[in-house]
Amino acid sequence: MGDSSFNGGWIFAFLIIAVIFGWGGGLGGGNNAAMAGLATTAEVQNSINAAFASQNAQNILLSSANNNYETARLIDNQSMLMTNQNNTNLLTAINGYNSVAQSLASGFNSVNQNIADLGYKMENCCCSIKTMLLENRLQDTQQALADARNIAVNQSQSEFLLNTMGKWVANAPAAAAAYTASK
């Protein structure tokens, strides 16, 4: 009675149905009441076709589900690729901005350095000018002192000579006015 094709007691279910409801002369006929004619060959074929149709429908649904899954997977992959590309683009842009910012910062540093150098040079220049002015002033002062000393020496010499000659006048009249030609 057991048959691997009828797992789970299906053969007994068929027997119960056949005994209670009969199963049709189109299936080989029977020599007892249980096998009295019921289903025609066409009915059997139709039912089998229906069973196949059901199986086909399941296969179609499964295929459709697989297609949907594949479509979703492709969309997901495409979305991931686009996201990655966007991230790459953003990263490239950020790197570009960073490079520009770095260049600007470097440029500003260079400008600041040049300004500092210029200030240093200007300070040196001012210092040199001040030094030169002071030196000039010192020279002028020294010259004035030398002139004053010469004058003093000359006056002393003149007084000595005049005293020696006995003609020293303590309050000599002022020197005559400079000659001017009459008009």
Binding site: A13, F14, I16, I17, V19, I20, G30, N32, I48
Partner: protein, 80 residues
């Protein structure tokens, strides 16, 4: 229980075949069948073999012969 063949019997056999192909339980199939077929009410579905034997004996049906015909029916339709 009378062995009264009716026009629904062949379809029920094929419905059972379809249910088996879908991997369903024979007990569940017979339970659902009992909802619309009072002939199945009161059967012990927990012991399908015992119930089938009892039915065959009460109705003077050769169980092995009928089982062979059922198998031939299924094989001829290439369903098992």
């Amino acid at each position: 229980m009378m062995l009264t063949g009716n026009s629904n019997g062949g379809n029920l056999m094929l419905q059972a075949l379809g249910s088996m192909m879908r991997g369903e339980s024979p007990k569940d199939f017979l339970k659902s069948l009992a909802n619309t077929n009072p002939q199945l009410k009161g059967l012990n579905l927990d012991d399908l073999e015992g119930t089938a034997k009892t039915l065959c004996e009460k109705n003077n049906v050769n169980m092995d012969e009928l089982a062979d015909k059922i198998k031939d029916f299924a094989k001829s339709n290439r369903q098992i």
